[in-house]
Symmetry: C2
């Protein structure tokens, strides 16, 4: 926010990725009354332009919200330099860019290149409402003088069909600063606190500020690196996994214990055994919940592999933590991602083994 | 064969499981001229009764073999006691029962109970042309005075549609005795040698006798415990796995190295690194081969999980060999088998978590 405190005017917020998480974030920010949201829509732009969002929400009910629109919608990332120039310099920079797209480090375009045209360097704060580890690093590198904010969303919200949101779990968002040596701790913290206040003014959601970013990120990884990944490989909801017992005992808990050990060694974060046991049983059994990575897999979409498993594993290796379960799960998911890449034309499998490392017989 | 040497008359052989492997075994045995085969057919009985087998074979070509039938076909396991009694005691006992069904230790009926009605105790030798480890143990327990024979088939033969066999890889069968403390080594060896001779009389196939059963079994596990299992989880042919490189480096080779270490510790069998590298590149790259476990998985069939992974893992644990890759692969496949069991009604997943170990919230 630079020199303009948020209390004096509405914050100018660009929300990128207006699926379930993005739309509910846009809704909470606008409802709080201190933010004016521009939402960048993709596949749902036409539907929302025509008739707005229809939202059935556990937090904002009981009646469905019909035909809701954020202040502005658009179907491209704004180019603040060009668009400001075109309109005579009156375009206002974005105070916050809130990114709620999937974070796919192994699939172009990167988040940094995607948002670049909308960033006013030194002015815009960039909030990543995304899962996983080390997601801030490429953003800090690309925008060294912008505060970068961590948002760890605990929300179950799905868009289907385009423009229709079903929000089934209470919206709890944990906001923290990603510290960055190029800007002061105070500036990082203030940016995060301002976003937390704007979001938290919507009293039907929970938005908390934590000064240490690591704990929230590792805590969420307990679920995402274990249940989410295993469900994606098995094509199985979490209730069936629990009913089997052995999937919990032999895969889910061992994966969580490896995250627990890594979090302690890498970040000094203590995730208790009780927390693990609670997360094992956290989903509503009767809902037969299918985690997001499984849903993406079934739809032939890319999965958030590198931030959820690749980075924790690389951190574990640097810290000398032994993670045999996660390693195998990671390699298998990387294999499944390879298939998705092939189906989308990002990799090509040669018809002949000629020139491939493993293409010829041994000794040939 | 007891007191009747095989050279004096044709051996009376019952082949159970007349898919690709079973039909080609029946064909080789009959073609050798020293065996009279009764084949037990299931889903293909009607087709074969009507018009015989059509076989396109790499070994028995070049022309397709049309309308071939073994000496006898039937669609039930013979009950030698009852059937002999019915026909006035003239039914001849089976010298050999050759079992080529899948070996599904975790799915009833067991091989022992399946073949029991056809076994004449003390007279019939039982040959298991099946993959994996410790498959002989329940057979020896059920028929302590019958020689049990190991057959490790290297053959690519598929039946599709019923009665039509496509045989694409040279038939090489490794036969060995499974030793058994209740009968002499000589008797075990003679039974195995007799079967090997009868099979080997068919000169277009290769049938070798090895007195040590362990090496052939562990050697074949190099492929089956690594490629076969990983392909089944990923839904991926072995050429794509090789094209990716990382699937070989991070999954297939590590799995093979764990089998190598276990084979050495448990059975004193040396499987060389060169053998591993050769098996990694053994499939014809251009064929984009889909291993049998993957084919079963795609068809919703049960997979041979316990003999191919469960038993090697239990042996490794007893011997103190560390097998982190195989363990995770095993648990995932067990999860996939759980889904198949549910789809076939063998397990039921409760709609409510009531009474389940992981059904309730933590602390409730």
């Amino acid at each position: 926010m630079g020199s303009l405190p948020v209390q004096d005017r509405k914050a100018n917020v660009l929300v990128i990725g207006s699926g379930g998480v993005g739309t509910m974030a846009a809704y909470a920010l606008e409802k709080g009354g201190k933010a004016e949201v521009t939402a960048v829509l993709r596949s749902n732009f036409e539907a929302v332009e025509e008739s707005g969002f229809d939202i059935k929400s556990i937090d904002h009910g009981p009646d469905p919200i019909l035909g809701w629109r954020p202040t502005y919608i658009r179907n491209t990332i704004p180019n603040v330099e060009k668009e400001a120039r075109c309109s005579g310099g009156v375009s206002q920079p974005y105070d916050f860019i809130v990114v709620t797209t999937k974070n796919l480090a192994d699939i172009p375009p990167s988040v940094a290149s995607l948002i670049a045209p909308a960033v006013t360097p030194g002015r815009t704060s960039i909030a990543l409402l995304q899962n996983g580890l080390n997601i801030e690093q490429p953003i800090i590198k690309a925008f060294p003088h912008s505060p970068v904010i961590s948002g760890v969303p605990y929300i179950g919200a799905i868009e289907n069909p385009p423009g229709t949101i079903t929000h089934v779990n209470h919206d709890k968002l944990v906001i923290s600063p990603f510290y960055n040596e190029n800007i002061s701790r105070e500036r990082s913290e203030n940016a995060a606190k301002e976003l937390q206040q704007a979001y938290g003014l919507c009293t039907s959601v929970t938005c908390v500020y934590e000064s240490r970013v690591e704990e929230a990120r590792w805590r969420k990884l307990l679920y995402n690196a274990s249940y989410n990944t295993t469900a994606a490989i098995l094509g199985m909801d979490t209730s069936r996994m629990r009913a089997s017992e052995f999937i919990i005992d032999d895969l889910v808990r061992p994966a969580m214990k490896e995250i627990q050990a890594t979090a302690h060694a890498v970040s000094g974060v203590n995730l208790s055994d009780d927390m693990i046991e609670a997360i094992i049983r956290a989903d509503n059994y009767k809902a037969f919940f299918r985690p997001s990575m499984l849903q993406d897999m079934v739809k032939g979409k890319f999965i958030e592999l590198e931030n959820i498993l690749g980075e924790p594993l690389r951190e574990a290796e640097r810290a000398g933590v032994y993670t045999p379960t996660l390693k195998v799960i990671y390699s298998l998911l990387k294999g499944l991602q390879f298939k998705t890449k092939e189906s989308k034309g990002l990799v090509k499998v040669p018809a002949s083994g000629e020139g491939l490392k493993y293409g010829k017989k041994w000794g040939e």
